[in-house]
């Protein structure tokens, strides 16, 4: 997914996956703080709001 965001031009750094168990509260808070700082550094989403990208999803018979 990070690779796709890079290809789109949004920046793969905007997403990260971390495996944590429910007993790892401190590490969770640490990762969230880390990611929050990273996203702030990257700045606002350059796309703005997705509602401005109209499209249709068709259904076909059969």
């Amino acid at each position: 997914m990070a690779g796709l965001l890079d290809q789109i031009g949004l920046g793969g750094g905007r997403i990260v996956m971390v495996n944590l168990s429910s007993a790892m509260g401190a590490q969770f808070a640490e990762k969230v703080a880390e990611m929050t700082g990273k996203v702030r550094e990257l700045g606002p989403n350059p796309l703005g709001r997705l509602e401005s990208l109209p499209h249709k999803k068709m259904e076909v018979e059969g």
Binding site: Q7, G9, L10, L53, P54, K56, K57, V60, E61, G62
Partner: protein, 226 residues
């Protein structure tokens, strides 16, 4: 099943050129199962194209549709009337589906979004391996169900070669030696004698060497009564 993988986004964007409105068409059969061109992948790619085109400064409208099978007329025909509104159609089917779309709808430009890669199976989740080359003359009956045409790098009919090392192929150490697999299977089945018979050269005219192939089943054809 047919295994395929999506082309890089940059290549797809180049193929679409200056199209302002495009339709991404998925296929609900093989490429859905190998996670390359089903409804889910259509949605992801269409979103990616919408976002990228907007970021690149020329927003493209990208609609989505997935049909059950792009390789059969009855499933693609319902698309016909709707294609006229698009500058380009991007097919996420195998090469057969892309050609079916172009053949059925010659006024629309249908482009390939996938690279059709081989006939194979998922060895494990996320790993696909080739198993068949559709050679037209199956020899699995004498090789214990392991195909040396698709799985031996040299397509040997009498193997293994000297490059078989510790059960692996000299071309790629991650690839199992097909002839080692064939031998192990013969030992297990008690059919080693069968492998000692020298196989004659293969008749490749039944494969691609004989040109494009066609099967006609007269018993199945719909013939109009006179």
């Amino acid at each position: 099943m047919i295994i395929a993988e999506q082309k890089p986004l940059e290549e797809i964007v180049t193929l679409l050129g200056d199209a302002r409105k495009a339709l991404v068409v998925g296929c609900g059969t093989c490429v859905t199962v190998c996670l390359a061109g089903g409804e889910k992948e259509v949605g992801i790619l269409a979103s990616a194209l919408r976002m990228k085109s907007k970021l690149d400064g020329h927003p493209m409208e990208v609609d989505e549709v997935t049909v059950q099978r792009q390789c059969e007329w009855e499933y693609v025909d319902p698309l016909g009337e709707r294609l006229g509104q698009y500058d380009a159609v991007l097919s996420l089917a195998c090469g057969i589906g892309v050609q079916a779309m172009n053949e059925r709808f010659p006024d629309a430009v249908t482009l390939p979004g996938l690279n059709t890669t081989f006939l194979g199976l998922p060895e494990e989740q996320g790993v696909w391996e080739e198993r068949c080359q559709a050679c037209g003359d199956c020899i699995l009956g004498i090789t214990g169900g392991v195909c040396p045409i698709a799985r031996c790098s040299k397509q040997l009919l009498n193997g293994p070669c000297g490059g078989s090392q510790n059960g692996k192929c000299e071309v790629d150490p991650d690839t199992s030696c097909a002839w080692q697999l064939i031998w192990d299977r013969a030992v297990k089945l008690g059919r080693v004698e069968q492998l000692l018979e020298i196989q004659p050269p293969k008749n490749w005219s039944k494969s691609r060497d004989g040109g494009p192939r066609k099967i006609v089943r007269e018993d199945l054809r719909l013939v109009e009564m006179e």
